[in-house]
Assembly symmetry: C2
Homo-oligomer: 199 residues x 2
């Protein structure tokens, strides 16, 4: 069975230095690090990639949110596209080497992302999470519907505790994405190992 | 003698529709239209390029601020890079077909921009302008110093009235860049023709 993926996404609450320091410590247990800082300029994205690389993290493990140009010049693995980003189909055509992720919340959005050329999708949020206050999670039943329809890997995101990992994988997900659960944990190294041991 | 360039830069105060409508009317007198909207997402840049193209404006006349990726996928002429953008040298290497502009304010910045690979520079602001309130203009004497040192075309920007055009060109500039002076004029068509007639 193919190894499940563990994605770590920057929270927007930490400095690049703090994020990179944690990333350096946990890199062996992590498949991909996403730089997802909505206020970042191109220069800040670039500088953060350089910081990660200085910390020994492989470019093949780095994914940037939205900034296809910075992804191209740095040679990172891929981009995660948002609603306000360039369409996946346009990115795919001009940058065929980038791995493209899209975030989906329904079968319709999944189908659309696949048709646009997404290489994987995030689906969530699965459980209630402080980053989406007051909204109920979509749950593992809906996750299963998505994974059954999907032709590309589905990464589950949102409020995932280590105790959830088994049911997520049982529902057909190809991996999990974590933010504050690891990055703001008292002991990120221990915490990421706990998740990784269940994947 | 080579025709001098006339650049029109979006103001940040108009809707894409309003900007594109004016652009459509004045395109024959304009060398380049810059989409310089600091709050724009990639999607908004893309949509504005499409609006300009629908208005009959050639991609070869369109320059985007900062977003190299959107410039690449749309096939516009070039990008204007800011301090917070990717460095010109990085852009040049990955996107050799894009015309790259940098903004400079001194001989040191000019030299640096040239070394980085800028294809042209903006120098300003030449005259006092409402977009830089309280700051005196750098003036045509300083412009002349820049144009004498520069190996790339220097486009003058900032507070330029039609009556200034002769002394700007006499100081060695390769063209002028205008924002509200045309886009917020009562009659943009008449105004741009007045500038163009003096170039």
């Amino acid at each position: 069975m193919k190894q499940k993926e563990l994605h770590i996404i920057s929270t927007g609450n930490q400095t690049p230095q703090a994020f990179c320091e944690i990333a350096r410590l946990i890199q062996n247990d992590v498949s991909y690090f996403h730089i997802r800082e909505k206020s970042f300029t191109a220069k800040e994205f670039y500088d953060t990639v350089m910081l990660l690389v200085e910390g020994g993290i492989s470019l093949s493990k780095i994914i940037l949110n939205d900034r296809v140009d910075v992804a191209c010049v740095t040679g990172v693995s891929g981009v995660q596209l948002a609603y306000h980003s360039l369409k996946a189909s346009l990115v795919k055509k001009s940058f065929p080497n980038l791995r493209i992720g899209s975030s989906v919340h329904s079968v319709e959005e999944l189908t659309s992302a696949q048709n646009e050329g997404a290489d994987y999708v995030f689906f969530g949020h699965i459980y209630p999470t402080t980053s989406k206050p007051g909204l109920p999670g979509r749950g593992v039943k809906e996750l299963r519907i998505i994974t059954e329809v999907s032709k590309v890997p589905v990464i589950a995101i949102g409020g995932i505790n280590p105790s959830h990992v088994k049911e997520i994988i049982d529902a057909g997900a190809s991996g999990i994405a974590l933010m504050s659960g690891v990055l703001e944990a008292n002991n990120p190294v221990k915490m990421v190992k706990e998740y990784a041991s269940k994947l």
